[in-house]
Amino acid sequence: MTLQLILSLTSGIIISGIAAYLGTLMLSKRMSVVAGPLAHLAFPGVAIAILCGFDLALGVFPFVLLGAIFIWLLERKTKLPMENLSAVIFATGVGSSLLFLPIAEAEEALVGNIMQISSIETIMITILGIIVFFSTQKIYKNIILINIHEDLVKVDKKNIDLYNLVYLLAVAVVVALGVYLVGGLITAALIAIPAGASRNISSSLFQYKLWAVIFGILGTVMGIIFSLIFNLSAGPLIIVSGAIIFLLSLFFQK
């Protein structure tokens, strides 16, 4: 096994595992779809990074994080539903990037570059992955309660806005990492598919979280192996593998 393959598998496993874990929470909030628009916000960042010759991360992270904070502020200041805010963010991301994005050079941003990931990037992904995992674990119970009724959490003098902000920032980091793995077009699938498949077969919260992470990682490992066998892009193959797992989960529904 080459060093590059080890780096690709390590990064892929971390990103897909975290995305699946957070995805279980997003499904419960009916927010799986929000990851898509956020990922598209990466495109203006990608355009700037390519035009200015920066590393992709320097373009992607600020835009996606700012997008998450922007959604958080809009959600507090307006009475608009998340669905509408997502559409606004989506259009802003795609519209502004189409003005500048050199499409021919943007393949990396569209379908990911996990097979060429560097050691430095793998270290960065590992550190961010650990931070997001523990942050998500910390807010998990309360986000579920907020979703059932905000007052169940407010009555204990807890700051709902802070929980929602940490949650959205975790989503933003996972989405930005997802751009490395499968590209901005299909990042949402990394979050939505494993959680959906796991929901189909699980009958407790523990099973739900565990199977989602297993399915996320399995899809990614399958995608990377298929990419080596068929010499195709890993990003789309990871998503196709995830979709196959989802289809199989339908036969074991609980």
Binding site: L27, S28, K29, R30, K141, I144, L145, N147, I148, H149, D151, L152, K154, V155, D156, K157, R199, S202, S203, S204, L205, F206, Q207, Y208, K254
Partner: protein
């Protein structure tokens, strides 16, 4: 509106302390530039069951949230004479959100900050008349009555001495709601528990409350013992329609 009032003999030996737990003086609440409550004064004694009665839009839930510190108030005073351990069951819990997750009854108890043992959860469920076999069941298959009992048990496991219930029986069939109120009566006999309950069900007030605070839109209409103050004329004034009732002895 015709109401059949079944007034059971509530135990006379229910020991009520005469100590005031909460006092509200000249409360004014403005929400979205609209005056919801003005010059509202009442008090709650330890061990008492106070019902907040009124039609839709009278600000019952708003008042509950103000007492709990979840909403601000503009004038007046809310004085707690003792620091209570509060248990609160809000109105309209999002059952759909529960359905989106494969959440068992046991999982739901694990969402609390404090970790309770299997035995503690079982005891709490049994105190509301639920078998421990329900622990591994997904929440979304529970009936309305079972779901509501489980919620009350979820609130009671923290051993509150002050319970706030907002329309605790909404969505439960007739009969099922009576069970919930009888259950609360039983729990009050077992341990010192002060209860503030929001309802628009007049029957509940007569059958289960020590005192009633009736609210009308933008004003309060009465505060006192239900049998003394709730006359058909007053009910008509509160609900804005003729209210007839029969009291079964």
């Amino acid at each position: 509106m015709v109401l059949a009032l079944n007034v059971p003999k509530i135990s006379n030996n229910r020991k009520q302390s005469m100590n005031k737990l909460l006092e509200v003086k000249n409360l004014k609440v403005i929400l979205d530039h609209e005056v919801i409550h003005d010059k509202l004064s009442f008090s709650i004694k330890e061990g008492e069951m106070l019902t907040i009665l009124g039609p839709n839009g009278a600000g019952k839930s708003v008042l509950l949230k103000v007492l709990l510190g979840l909403l601000p108030y503009d004038k007046g005073k809310i004085i707690w004479h003792k620091k209570p351990r509060i248990g609160y069951l809000p109105q309209n819990l999002n059952r759909l959100a529960v359905k989106n997750l494969p959440l068992t009854v046991e999982d739901f108890f694990k969402l609390k900050d404090i970790v309770y043992s299997h035995q503690e959860i079982t005891n709490s469920l049994q105190s509301v008349g639920l078998e421990n076999t329900i622990l591994k069941k997904p929440i979304h298959i529970l009936s309305g009555g079972q779901f509501q009992r489980m919620l009350i048990s979820w609130v009671l496991i923290s051993k509150p001495n002050m319970l706030f219930l907002d329309e605790a029986t909404a969505g439960i069939d007739i009969g099922g709601d009576e069970n919930i109120y009888s259950l609360i009566d039983t729990l009050r006999l077992q341990s010192p528990l002060t209860v503030v309950m929001v309802t628009h069900d007049i029957h509940v007030v007569y059958a289960h409350s020590d005192t009633v605070l009736c609210l009308k839109r933008k004003s309060h209409a009465c505060f006192g013992k239900p049998k003394t103050i709730l006359t058909p004329q007053l009910l008509e004034k509160i609900f804005g329609m003729e209210v007839k009732f029969y009291e079964h002895q």
